[in-house]
Symmetry: C2
DNA sequence: ACCTGAACACCGTTCAAGT
DNA sequence: ACCTGAACACCGTTCAAGT
């Protein structure tokens, strides 16, 4: 069912991901879905976390933890853009909450600690990094409706802009003078 | 009509802002609205820009431009949270595009220049700041559906987290060694 | 446990027509 | 220019019932 939902999303977009269309794809009556999932929101939440399974985590003992943080966020950015339609939904739902999201959070905290960022700053930095990464992906995905002559960035420009901001952000986090250094 | 839409949004939320409800509030048939606006998306876009009118810009000759940037983004954050439901829509629409959004962008670029950030980095920094500010507001607004035992931040914690990240980001932007300094 | 027909209470939008 | 009745083509979800 989740696979079918993902398939529908990939090939026909978020607006085509309706309970009725999903039921049709599974050769089942629309209301049958409610025997397997509480409602559409719960289905979407499952989908959000599942997508994050593909994020590549750096090896935990990477030499430079700041580089590791950059790689991790960059991989998350790439994975988010595999389903561009879903990105604004991450924002609306304020991230994912499943096991995959949990795992990425743990890795990030560990890397931050190695970079000299200790609690409570690490939790704050994690939240900031998540917000920035999902937000960047939202701005990189194509808009729901093109209106007028927008000067939009192409995917490469968006990715470069994301990397630049990430560099700024990580520099600010790691170099914060109020921070205890290792 | 825009005022009625805003009223509906404030008192009954985004999901209650339907063309039919708006028509009823204006004592008019639903299809009458289409004599005044192309479709619902166009109406929402007008609404997004109108909200930004209330963002407080610092005086252009503020002593420390970094402080001015912080104040400007903090005011935008506050204004965005006046209509929490609308914030994910800003992300989905990738910001606003009207005259008010334009004005805030111009002011930001001017402050960045005074802080020693010149083109093309200024345009990149502007985009990063917009993404971070709207993203933070999206994470601060209450979720569409509460699921399970979330450990959410309260509004004050969210605002503090936003300010912290903004500080990190501005520090990274202004102190970037690849940047030409004034 | 899993599935169904039928219905409820909605949506955004279009069309032809009226003033 | 502004408004309307009526309809079209959909939604998510619930209910009672069937296997």
């Amino acid at each position: 069912m989740l696979a079918a939902a993902r398939d529908l999303l990939t090939h026909r977009g978020l607006q085509a991901l309706t309970m009725r269309a999903l039921a049709e794809r599974l050769d089942v009556a629309p209301n049958t879905l409610y025997s397997h999932v509480a409602n559409k929101t719960a289905l979407i939440d499952d989908l959000l976390d599942e997508v994050l399974a593909e994020v590549q985590a750096p090896t935990p003992d990477i030499e430079d933890p700041t580089v590791g943080l950059h790689q991790l966020m960059a991989s998350a950015y790439d994975v988010l853009l595999v389903h561009p339609d879903l990105v604004p939904v991450y924002l609306a739902r304020q991230g994912a909450r499943g096991p995959h999201a949990q795992r990425l959070g743990d890795i990030t905290i560990a890397l931050l600690r190695r970079a000299g960022v200790v609690e409570p700053a690490a939790a704050e930095a994690l939240r900031v990094l998540i917000i920035y990464t999902i937000g960047s992906a939202a701005f990189a995905s194509r808009p729901p409706l093109a209106t007028g002559t927008e000067h939009r960035l192409n995917p490469d420009e968006s990715a470069a802009n994301f990397a630049n901001g990430l560099r700024w952000l990580l520099a600010g986090i790691v170099q914060d003078p109020t921070q205890v250094r290792r």
